[in-house]
Symmetry: C2
Subunit: 252 residues, 2 copies
């Protein structure tokens, strides 16, 4: 493919949380791409802040980004997690050619909706500008709904996508090889295991989502992903999308 | 462009609400595309229900969709609003060629996040499976945050994107011609005018988002859009994403 490019890419994202930047990092790492990451650069945060400054109006590389993650590749600068993944996928070999990318993109968007955006709202159901402590009771209600209804709905969906694939001996969401949708699903499950360990253990043990958890393990054991997860480049979860508040998890 | 195709397309979406289907309809209408819409077909809802049935595992046209809107074009069936728009845009002439589509996609995703997904959560901040009445107090808190903080933040962002464009005499978010991002921003503002008429009137009168509201009028007056909005094909807002609950709007 003429589009193939191993980089160099520049990921521009907040330091100290894996956050939404992690979906991009996993794609770059799985492909063994050449990239830099402001999260690991001294004063890297200033690069983020300059691009989302309320007076910044963009330049020839692109309009101003609303929020990180932001990707630079040559003269192009783009933002929005699923958009960056869409751009990278054909360049990194993380999608089949042709219209298949619209299937992969749809699966990735659904995983981002259900296992990242909705997860964020479990600890910020009222307002992202308020502290968690100021929306604690609402967080408990929303988390209960998420653990009991929304999350099982999304997991059932992905299990249903994986079932006919498994019958053909394919461990991935689409086609015969790993795509970026698999990486997004992996990262969503991984973050949820940190945030809601009891609920995820219950869901895994139910056996109802066996193919989803098999895919999780398969991604985790990809040689480059395994090396990455053990490296200093993989940041610890803290106060990002995936937060561990025991009071929001299943009761013991 | 070899990709250009005026259809026929089939939009598969719920009847009786504009909902997320409306973002797709506006693209099809602006382009004068040949399309059918299950919202206007007798028993069209059964087409939606069959594709999201919990036992449906997809077929050669694609994996099962998580939710409508769903688009069929020839042998291909895809879902997820921004994904369908991404697919249609080069076919309908609603994006420039080349990497520009990643800028347009980013703008569209941001408008969908801020003026559609977050808007939905103003009346369902706790659980989408609960009635509005069962999350009324939480809805009031979330709506206040939305009207005072989130929505102005998104409008300021789009105003900032439009400012350098306006200086070049361009009314659109990106480039020299209308793109699907403009249609998404139009529909977001239109839905918000229905849902929060007092807040939108306040924001418009502030003059701080003059280019955003100019774009809104410019889209509204596109000949095909104007004809569409006056037709029976344009459905009325009711209990979809954009709901008018006076108690959630600015105080009088």
């Amino acid at each position: 493919m003429s589009q193939r490019s191993n980089g160099p890419y520049q990921l521009i994202y907040w330091p100290q949380i894996p956050g939404r930047g992690e979906f991009i990092r996993l794609a770059l790492e799985e492909a063994g791409a050449d990239y830099t990451d402001t999260a690991h650069e001294k004063d890297g945060i200033n690069t983020v802040l300059a691009l989302i400054d309320k007076n910044y109006e963009g330049d020839q590389s692109g309009p101003p980004p609303f929020a990180p993650p932001i990707l630079k590749h040559g003269d192009l600068r783009i933002s929005q997690t699923p958009n960056i993944l869409l751009y990278l996928a054909p360049r990194l070999g993380l999608t089949p050619d042709g219209d298949a990318i619209y299937q992969v993109n749809s699966l990735a968007l659904t995983a981002l909706d259900g296992l990242s955006d909705e997860t964020h709202d479990t600890h910020h159901p009222i307002a992202s500008e308020l502290y968690y402590e100021d929306q604690l009771e609402e967080s408990k209600r929303r988390s209960e709904s998420y653990r009991k209804n929304r999350l099982p709905k999304f997991l059932s969906y992905f299990e249903r996508v994986l079932k006919p694939q498994a019958a053909l001996g394919r461990p991935w969401l689409y086609g015969t090889t790993l795509t970026y949708a698999d990486l997004v699903l992996f990262q969503g499950i991984d973050g949820l295991k940190f945030a809601f360990p009891r609920a995820l253990s219950r869901l895994e043990k139910s056996g109802e989502y066996a193919n989803v958890f098999k895919l999780y393990e398969a991604v985790k054991n990809r040689p480059r992903i395994k090396e990455y997860l053990a490296s200093d480049r993989r940041q610890k979860y803290s106060l990002g999308i995936y937060r561990h508040y025991p009071e929001l998890d299943d009761a013991e």
